[in-house]
Structures are given as structure tokens and as C-alpha cells.
Amino acid sequence: MDILFFTIPIALFLALIFLGVFVFSVFRGQFEDLDTPAYRILLEEKNIKGKNNDSEQSGN
């Protein structure tokens, strides 16, 4: 069981990293609008297509 003295701090450290990532995303405002991104992810493909159309146009 002595291995616990080593693995528990490592586990804590890992969890600390996740906590840091979470806090980072909070301060980037990722939790301020929870509804729109759910829709936006559906549109991503179309967006790219739209942009391609544009570039084709300008190419012509």
C-alpha cells in the first residue's frame, strides 16, 4: 500500500491541471452562452462550404 503515498499526490496534481483548464475556460467566457454553441456546431460544415463558395467566386 505504500505506493499510495506516491500515486495520490500524482492524482491530485492531475486533478489540479483539470481544475486549471476549467478555470481557464470559465474566464474565456465559455459558460456564458450555453444555448447558441449547441446550434452553431450544426452549422460548422455549412460555414466552411459557404467560405469555399466565396473563394471560388473570387477565383473566377
Binding site: I8, A15, F22, G29, K46, K49, G50
Partner: protein, 792 residues
């Protein structure tokens, strides 16, 4: 001829607007739909039509609001509404009509349509569109584009600092909760291992780690509790946070002491759970409050009326809030007079129903006084402003509404009082217990018993219950389209004995149906004439009549011809006139008809048709009212004439003495004030004062801005009576759950106090029992009651 569907909105076409686009024949129901289609076509954005789920997701633009956005270019407007930085400008609009992924897609595509727009970002939960645009971009053009696409933009005046502060605070709260949860979770893991019998070396290691993980909670997570209790102490008050702070300090001191001296009194797990749960529940409550309708939002709607100001003989569009006394303004027929003033030129009549509740038009001529909120009926009026926005009629009503609001919130703090007494007695008892055992036993026993007492009687369940249960209740209501602006409403409803209903739009649908058509000519011809002439009116009745005729014709599978009237204009009341082939056609109310809403069509004074309309009671109205009658006395209160009111009253089973007709707004308020235990449900601006003086004021869907501001509750769905019933049930059950939980935790605390004083439980047992009580309360709130589950 078959009935075609509009290629934009999918509605049956009554009047055809055709266009051949890229070799394909396209059909549209109105010019608005056609122009949207063309804008999308031109910018290669037809994907919109694939993205929406079905055709009904695009609203027909037949009844599109006539938008005037010139005022957006006014420099004064720009100064207060537009933020400028890094060579670009930014503005936020509240956009009406956003509902699906296709809306999001098309609105965020704005930069591809107009090159002056740099970026567009839509927040669907708040319907807020934030637009960044180039310095040379014209705001009026951007707004016109949004409105051409079928949405209606309202510029939002939101102080950038306030908004940033709010989001910063929320971010801080979330971080605090996240850190607390991180520490709590890990400490709990260690504590479990210890309770399950970890060996001695492991136990010491776990306790040490817990001690370390407790530090962030002590010095960071619990800061709000310190602030609250010291803030309260400074103003000589006892905050509910005080015992929590005491428990944290005493518990931490004992736990760290145990860590050093290997005593067996370690309570890190108890303390962190306590802090985490309270932080979380408070944050949930705050978020639910922020989401519900806030007053600033409504204010921005209200002051968004553009006005024509006369500058050097020319008419310039300005924002109403920038008008000053002695400015000259021009109000066209159909427009609302923004501020009180004196008529300089023009003979017209005004519709004062917004202010007085009377539908009858009032004649005005030069020198006569006009009031804000009145609608100009006939002729262009030139008006000299005599009162500023806050002194105008409308402003005064607003002030009254706001004052009533303030008084109410100050009155009710009963729950806080109870907890304060509870905290006070808890502290006194703890001190007495400590002193008693200090003299009869020794310091250790005294300390332990006092600590056990504080931990077990921690009013955490007491403090947790009301916010948590109320939040759950409010969010359940919000899901049903019932927005509660003030949570005290849930308590107040319990005290209500009377319910007052406004008639139109509350008990009835506000959607007029034709019940009788007396034809003296050729009904088909009459329908053509009325359909086309009514298109010049914006009155809801005109809309209902057009709907009726359009429906009838589309069932016959034929198309209505378009007729262009010359000199068409609205007459006072619901009248209209216009000429066709040099004959004058008029639509006006039938004289001496008081029983029903009615009008007649005349051709050069020759009677063509008489039409009678009726506003239907809402679906299920009778059943719901019957159920409500079991607990409340129901009244009907209306500004309409007695004939109409009595008929609806009879239909819905109101006894004669509980029907009030021809009531002016001030009288409405007096009647409500005479019944202090009443709920008022209404919609018009003439209900605003009454709504505000009621114990609980409810504004139904499509209410006037004024009523929205005055109300405590707002129904965001058309079925107002069912919503009212739901509101009453949820409010009742929420209060019941709170009472259930509070009495549970009080009884629990009593038993705890007795056991702790007798020394029958150790702090360890108290530490296990205390969170159990919190979780019981939590579960009780979540499970709620059977009645609530069945009804909402």
C-alpha cells in the same frame, strides 16, 4: 386554380407576388417574403432553406412592423449606444423573432451580405445580437437589413461596465465553486478511507492532505461568508453566515490542533461540504434570477420610439430620450405622441386609450394639449414639447409604478428575520453551554460540546432550503413560459383571496371573430373591398378581419384581387376610408350599437354590409375558472361598455356583482386597492397601475411595455389562464416544500441541541448527521410534491 404556398414562409398565398428568379417561377405571399428571398439569393445564402427544419420556421412577413431606423444615425444616439474601440464600432440589439438554427445561421452571415459589418454574434438564450461594424458603416442600413430578413432589432442600452462587472462576478463565483468542489471531493475521498478504517500511517497521511486541501477553502472559498457576516456585524446585524463562519473557525482550529497533537477531532470534510453546498445553491439562485426578465431590459424597449424633430424647418429622426422641452416635433397619423406638448399645427383626433383606457377619440386642434402615449389618428400634427420625458404623462405613470415596486420589496423580509432570531439564539445557547461545562467539567468537554452544538445546528439546511426550492420552482415556471420577476410573489400568492381579470386578451383571446355578416349587396365583392381597404389599417381588428376573409378565400381555392384605394386613411375608432374609381368607400362603427363590436361598409353613403365581431373566451377558460373558484373569488374588470362585458361575464359564469365595466385606469387601481388580497391579471397600459397595486400583478403575453414593467409575473405564452393556474399551484407547492423543510430542520436542530448538551453525540457524529440533514432537505426539494409533479 390551386392554392400555392409561399416559397419563403410556406403560408397559403392569398394575394400573389410572383417573380421569376434564375429561370424558376417563385411564388410569394407578400413583398416582405419576396425581398428576403432575393437578398438570400443575391448573396448565395439559399442554404438557409435547407437549414430550417420546416417551412413554418420562417414567419410570414405580411404583418411585418413598418420599421424606421433613420434615428439610429443620430450622433447623440451613437454616443450613448455605440461603443467604439480599435477602429471599429460595436452595438447590441435585442432581436425579435429568433427561434431556430437557421436564424442563427443567417444572422451570423450578415458580414457576407453587408461588407461594412465586420462580425455578428448571436446569443440565442438572450436573443442578443452583437454587431461590430466599420467606422463608416451606417447603423440605419444595418438595422434595415436585419428587419428585411424578417427580424426586428431593438438597440440595447446596456452600460458596458455593468455588463462586464456582471460576467466578471459570475466567473469569479464559478471559479470559487470549482475550487471548493475540487477540495471537497478529494477531502471526502480521504475521509471515507479513514472512516472505513485505513491503517495508522495512511490515516495520518490522509489527514495531512485534507489539512492542506482545506487551506484554499479557508482562505479563498469561504471569503463570501466572511464578507457577509462582517458586513452585517458592521451594521449591527446578525447574518445567517455568522454561525457558518464560527463553525469554520472553531472547526478549523480544532482540526488543525488535532493534526499537530494527534487528537481525534478532524472535521475538514464536514466544513468543506457545508461551504461547497451553500456556495452552489446560492449561485444557482443568482443565475435563475439573472435569467428572468430584468427591468433594464424592459426599459430599453420603452424608450426606443424614434421621433421626428423639426430642425431648421426640416424633419430629422431622433431618439425620444434626447428630446428637450421647447423642441418642435412632428407626429404622423398612426404614430404615438412621445412627450406631453401643445399642438402648433394640424387638426386631428387622438386615441388616449393607453393613458385613460377610453377608446373614444379626442379631437385636437392648434393650442390644445396632447399627452404622451396617445396615438394620433388622422392628420399630421406639429407639436411643441412642454414636458421632459420624466414629467410627461407616461413618465409619471412609470414613476408611480416604480415607487410601488420599491415599497413592496422593503416590506417583506420575514424569512430573514426568522433566521436571524435563530442564529441569535443558537449563539446564545452555544455560549451558555460552553460556560456551563467549563465550570462543571473542563475546557475540552466544554469546547467539544459547544462545537457539536454549532455544527449540528448549523442553519445550513435552513439557509439552503428557501433559495434552492424557490430556484427550482422558478425554473419550472420559466419552462412553462411563466417569468417571475420577484420571488416574493410565490409567498404572496398564498395570501390572495381575490383574482381580478381584465377582459380582452386575458379571458378572451383578443382575436376577433366575425359572427354575423349582413350583406346588402354582393358578399364576395364586399369581402374584396373590405380585405383591401383594411390593409391600410394597423388595428388588431383589421388584422382579424383580413385573416377571416383570407381564410375563407383560400378554402374556396380562389385568389383575392388587389385593389388600390386612393387617399386611403384611418378614421377615429376602427374606421377607414378610401376611394376607388371615384367612389368613396367608408368603414366605420355602427351607431347606437353597444352590445357587440361592429362596423359597416358604405359606398358613397349607401349601406353595403354590416359586420358583427366577437372576441372568443380562451380555450379551457370555463374549466380553469371553475377550478379557481374553489379557492378564490373571481372578478372581471374592463374598460369596455357594459353590453360586451356582461355577455362575456355571463358566458364564463361571473355573478353580476363581480363584473365591473367601463372602468377607468385610476378606478381600476382604486378597486384593487380596496381588495389588498388580490391578484390582478391584465395586459393593456391602462391596467398598469392596477397591476402594480395588486398583491400579485400579472401581465399576460403581448402586454404593453408599461404593464410589463409594473407586473411581478409575466406570461410568455398565449394561454394565460392555464398559466395562472400553474403559477398558483407551483407557488403553493413551493411554499409548502419550504415549510416542510424548515420545520424538519428546526425539529432536527432541537433534537440535536438536546443530544449535544447531554453529551450523547460527539462532534464526529454531529459532523455526519449535519450533512445528512442537508441532503434530506436537498432531496425533499428535488423530489418536490406529487401535486407539483403532476401539474407542471
Amino acid at each position: 386554380m390551386s392554392v400555392d404556398k409561399c416559397d419563403h414562409c410556406g403560408e397559403n398565398i392569398v394575394v400573389r407576388y410572383n417573380e421569376t428568379i434564375e429561370g424558376v417561377d417563385k411564388n410569394f405571399c407578400c413583398l416582405g417574403c419576396k425581398s428576403v428571398y432575393k437578398i438570400l439569393q443575391k448573396n448565395q445564402l439559399q442554404d438557409y432553406y435547407q437549414l430550417r427544419q420546416d417551412e413554418t420556421h420562417s414567419i410570414s412577413l405580411k404583418n411585418k412592423k413598418e420599421a424606421k431606423f433613420k434615428y439610429l444615425d443620430d450622433p447623440e444616439f451613437n454616443q450613448s449606444f455605440v461603443a467604439e474601440n480599435n477602429g471599429q464600432k460595436e452595438i447590441s440589439f435585442y432581436v425579435e423573432g429568433v427561434h431556430c438554427a437557421a436564424c442563427l445561421w443567417i444572422l451570423e452571415k450578415l458580414p457576407e451580405i453587408d461588407s461594412s459589418i465586420l462580425s455578428a454574434n448571436l446569443n440565442m438564450s438572450t436573443s442578443t445580437l452583437t454587431i461590430k461594424f466599420a467606422l463608416n458603416g451606417k447603423l440605419s442600413e444595418i438595422a434595415n437589413l436585419i428587419s428585411d430578413l424578417g427580424y426586428y432589432p431593438h438597440p440595447i442600452l446596456e452600460n458596458q461596465d455593468v455588463r462586464n462587472l456582471k460576467s466578471k462576478e459570475n466567473r469569479k463565483d464559478i471559479t470559487r465553486i470549482a475550487v471548493s468542489f475540487f477540495c471537497t471531493g478529494n477531502i471526502m475521498l480521504f475521509a471515507f478511507s479513514n472512516y472505513l478504517g485505513a491503517d495508522q500511517s495512511m490515516r495520518v497521511f490522509f489527514d495531512l492532505l485534507s489539512g492542506v486541501l482545506f487551506l484554499p477553502i479557508l482562505f479563498y472559498g469561504a471569503i463570501p461568508f466572511y464578507k457577509n457576516s462582517f458586513g452585517a456585524l458592521k451594521s449591527r446585524q446578525l447574518s445567517i453566515d455568522l454561525p457558518i463562519v464560527l463553525a469554520i473557525f472553531l472547526g478549523a482550529a480544532l482540526s488543525y490542533l488535532s493534526l499537530i497533537t494527534s487528537l481525534d477531532h478532524i472535521y475538514f470534510d464536514t466544513l468543506t461540504t457545508l461551504i461547497f453546498l451553500i456556495l452552489l445553491s446560492r449561485f444557482l439562485l443568482k443565475v435563475s434570477q439573472q435569467k428572468s426578465l430584468n427591468q433594464e431590459n424592459i426599459y430599453s424597449f420603452f424608450s426606443n420610439i424614434p421621433t421626428k424633430k423639426v430642425v431648421d424647418g426640416e424633419e430629422v429622426d431622433v431618439f425620444t430620450r434626447f428630446l428637450k422641452v421647447d423642441d418642435e416635433i412632428v407626429v404622423y397619423p398612426g404614430e404615438t405622441i412621445p412627450l406631453d406638448g401643445v399642438v402648433l399645427a394640424g387638426n386631428s383626433s387622438t386615441n388616449n386609450s393607453l393613458i385613460t383606457g377610453e377608446i373614444k377619440a379626442v379631437k385636437v386642434s392648434p393650442e390644445s394639449e396632447v399627452f404622451s402615449g396617445c396615438i394620433n389618428n388622422e392628420e399630421k400634427l406639429k407639436i411643441k414639447v412642454t414636458k421632459s420625458i420624466s414629467d410627461s404623462q407616461l413618465g409619471l405613470i412609470l414613476k408611480e409604478v416604480e415607487q410601488g415596486w420599491q415599497q413592496k420589496t422593503n416590506l417583506m423580509k420575514l424569512t430573514d428575520k426568522v433566521t436571524k432570531y435563530f442564529v441569535f439564539s443558537q449563539l446564545i445557547i452555544s455560549v451558555l453551554v460552553f460556560l456551563f461545562f467549563l465550570f462543571t467539567h473542563n475546557f475540552e468537554v466544554a469546547y467539544l460540546r459547544a462545537l457539536t452544538l454549532i455544527i449540528i445546528t448549523c442553519p445550513c439546511a435552513l439557509g439552503l432550503t428557501p433559495p434552492l426550492t424557490i430556484t427550482l420552482g422558478l425554473s419550472k415556471l420559466a419552462k412553462n413560459g411563466i417569468l417571475v420577476k420577484d420571488e416574493k410573489v410565490l409567498e404572496n400568492i398564498q395570501l390572495a383571496k381575490n383574482i381580478f381579470f381584465d377582459k380582452t386578451g386575458t379571458l378572451t383571446e383578443g382575436n376577433f371573430q366575425i359572427i354575423k355578416w349582413e350583406s346588402y349587396f354582393d358578399q364576395e365583392k364586399e369581402e374584396e373591398l373590405i380585405f383591401n381597404l383594411e390593409s391600410y389599417s394597423s388595428h388588431p381588428i383589421a388584422h382579424s378581419i383580413r385573416e377571416y376573409i383570407a381564410q375563407k378565400w383560400s378554402e374556396k381555392r380562389s385568389e383575392l384581387p388587389k385593389l388600390e384605394f386612393k387617399g386611403a386613411r384611418e378614421l377615429p375608432g376602427i374606421g377607414l376610408e378610401g376611394s376607388l374609381n371615384n367612389t368613396l368607400f367608408t368603414i366605420k362603427p355602427i351607431d347606437n350599437e353597444t352590445e357587440k363590436t361592429s362596423f359597416e361598409l358604405r359606398q358613397d353613403n349607401e349601406l353595403l354590409a354590416r359586420i358583427y365581431l366577437e372576441d372568443h373566451p380562451q380555450k379551457e377558460a370555463k374549466e380553469v375558472l371553475e377550478r379557481l373558484r374553489a379557492n378564490y373569488k373571481l372578478h372581471m374588470i374592463s374598460g369596455d361598455n357594459p353590453g360586451v362585458v356582461n355577455r362575456v361575464g355571463d358566458l364564463l359564469g361571473f355573478p353580476k356583482e363581480q363584473i365591473y365595466s367601463q372602468i377607468k385606469p385610476k378606478q381600476k387601481q382604486e378597486i384593487i386597492a380596496a381588495h389588498p388580497d388580490s391578484i390582478m391579471v391584465g395586459d393593456g397600459a391602462n391596467d398598469a397601475i392596477a397591476i402594480n397595486s395588486a398583491l400579485v400583478g400579472v401581465a399576460v403575453a403581448n402586454s404593453m411595455d408599461l404593464s410589463l414593467r409594473a407586473s411581478h409575473v409575466f406570461f410568455n405564452n398565449p394561454n394565460s389562464l392555464v398559466s395562472l393556474e400553474k403559477l398558483i399551484i407551483v407557488a403553493g407547492e413551493t411554499v409548502r416544500i419550504i415549510k416542510r423543510n424548515v420545520s424538519f430542520s428546526l425539529i432536527y436542530n432541537m433534537i440535536g441541541i438536546i443530544l449535544a448538551i447531554m453529551g450523547l453525540i460527539t462532534p464526529l457524529l454531529a459532523a455526519i448527521l449535519m450533512p445528512i440533514s442537508s441532503f434530506t432537505v436537498l432531496a425533499s426539494s428535488l423530489i418536490s410534491t406529487k401535486k407539483m409533479r403532476n401539474n407542471v
